[in-house]
């Protein structure tokens, strides 16, 4: 299956993209998504366990992902 991974701010700069499609085995979790991202050039600039959202809600590394899900890597937020 594949999921869309969104990148923002410094993470988008690090990986040179704001959106990626990642292929995963069935029953994958957020941890599997992060492992795939960690193989990409530029990912060494990201923390080992970035904040993650699945379908616009904060999630944990054990959160299951489904085909077509929107997984976002959230840099330290700086609103206000």
């Amino acid at each position: 299956m594949s999921v869309t991974v969104l990148l923002f701010a410094s993470y988008a700069d690090a990986l040179g993209a704001s959106s990626l499609s990642v292929d995963l085995p069935a029953e994958a979790t957020v941890a599997d998504v992060l492992a795939e991202i960690a193989r990409l050039p530029g990912s060494e600039l990201l923390p080992a366990s970035p904040l993650v959202a699945v379908n616009q809600r904060y999630a944990s590394t054990s959160t299951r992902v489904s085909p077509g899900d929107e997984v976002a890597l959230i840099p330290p937020v700086a609103g206000g």
Partner: protein
């Protein structure tokens, strides 16, 4: 109905926010504006560029506005965060709170801005007087710019 928590690319109109939370039951209305400051961490700032994970940020702002009203209610809370390029003295965030009493209104205003800073997926890139620009971390300290 206009969402109580929302993003905008237009200048924030403080008078509109105040009107939105005015009710006959409220004896206290507070307006908080976060504005672009000329110095951060000892460096001269000329402006700030705000960006967001818009769908999620809108959801979180709305959630904070409803939670705030539940937490210290009965209250009215409106939160607007601006995106795009902002110059000095321009407001990046506006929070209006209406409550029967001032004690709760002050608590509510403070809780709302801290919660926004803690969990709403918004980022800022500061532009400095020397022409450089860097992403700021939540403590306000710049993160080294990534050069590609």
């Amino acid at each position: 109905m206009t969402p109580l928590g929302r993003l905008t690319r237009e200048p924030i109109d403080a008078a509109v926010l105040v009107r939105e939370v005015a009710r006959p039951a409220h004896g206290a209305i507070l307006l908080f504006l976060g504005v672009v400051r000329e110095v951060n961490d000892g460096r001269g700032v000329t402006g700030i560029e705000y960006s967001a994970y818009e769908a999620m940020a809108g959801f979180e702002l709305q959630a904070i506005a409803s939670e705030a009203a539940d937490r210290f209610g009965p209250a009215d809370v409106v939160i607007v965060h601006r995106l795009g390029e902002l110059g000095l003295e321009e407001a990046s965030v506006g929070i209006a709170v209406g409550h029967a009493h001032r004690d709760e209104a002050y608590q509510l205003s403070r809780w709302t801005i801290e919660e926004l800073k803690r969990r709403v997926p918004i980022w800022k890139r500061e532009h400095y007087v020397d022409g450089t620009r860097e992403w700021a971390d939540p403590a306000g300290r710049p993160v080294a710019e990534v050069h590609q």
